[in-house]
Amino acid sequence: MNDTVNPEQLKIPAAIDRLDTVLDYVRTCAGRAGFSPRRITDLVLAVEEAVGNICRYAYPGGDGEIVIFSGNDSEGAFSIEIADGGVPFDLLSVEKPVFEGSLSRRKSGGLGIYLIRHMVDEVRYRREGQCNVLSLVMCDRTKRKGRSPDPRSDSGDKHPRDAHNPSGAGL
């Protein structure tokens, strides 16, 4: 299946080998929107986690698609929306992982969702028809919401939760 790209939308098969296409698209959209290189890295990492999750779990035993949208909401915040027609999954329902101290006791489950929620300013989820729609919202072009522009001075966790995103997306 061919990838379908236009300035606001990218449609690809849900396969890890298409990840670079998605990340290039996100990088281009965020760059065009004026984000700093570090903020683009934050967003690209979050998108990689989200798309990787869909490729692994959304379509058990079958093929599926992912549609990526980019745009601005009514308040001017930039967002990447990721839609899939797979198993219903609200990643906002996943608890923060427990970080055990020692190497031997450390587990790695739940890290990807934790990173998504840390890297972008806001995460929204909605179920729209037969689709999961995840919105990764970026408010500030140069620094993360509530954080210093210098990442070396960042610390702590945040877990934004939000309900409904009025903008439309679907497969």
């Binding site: 990840l19 190497l103 790695s108």
Partner: protein, 112 residues
Amino acid sequence: MDTEKVGDVRIVRLQGRLGEVSAPQFEERMKDFIAQGETRFVVHMGELEYISSAGLRSILSTAKDLKELKGALYLSGITGAVKEVFDISHFSDIFKIYGSVSEALEAIGNNE
């Protein structure tokens, strides 16, 4: 990913992203080195743009393998987005992290 051997220490330099695609390749390569009897590693991340959860899992898995063999996995050059991911995931608490490859090599040498 570039590698070189200094004494009995394998230095692995990572570039780009350690994520969904590259992390399994990294982990496989490390398993190959370990299967060949190598147990002492410095993994340099100074040229990484970022590390994802898949990358963290590959580091964790490799470290657990080496711990069983009483080997050593030292990390160096962790800055920027990579450092942030290490810090928020508390991986910084469980790994030996150094500023440069030479500092990591010196520390490995001191722990012989």
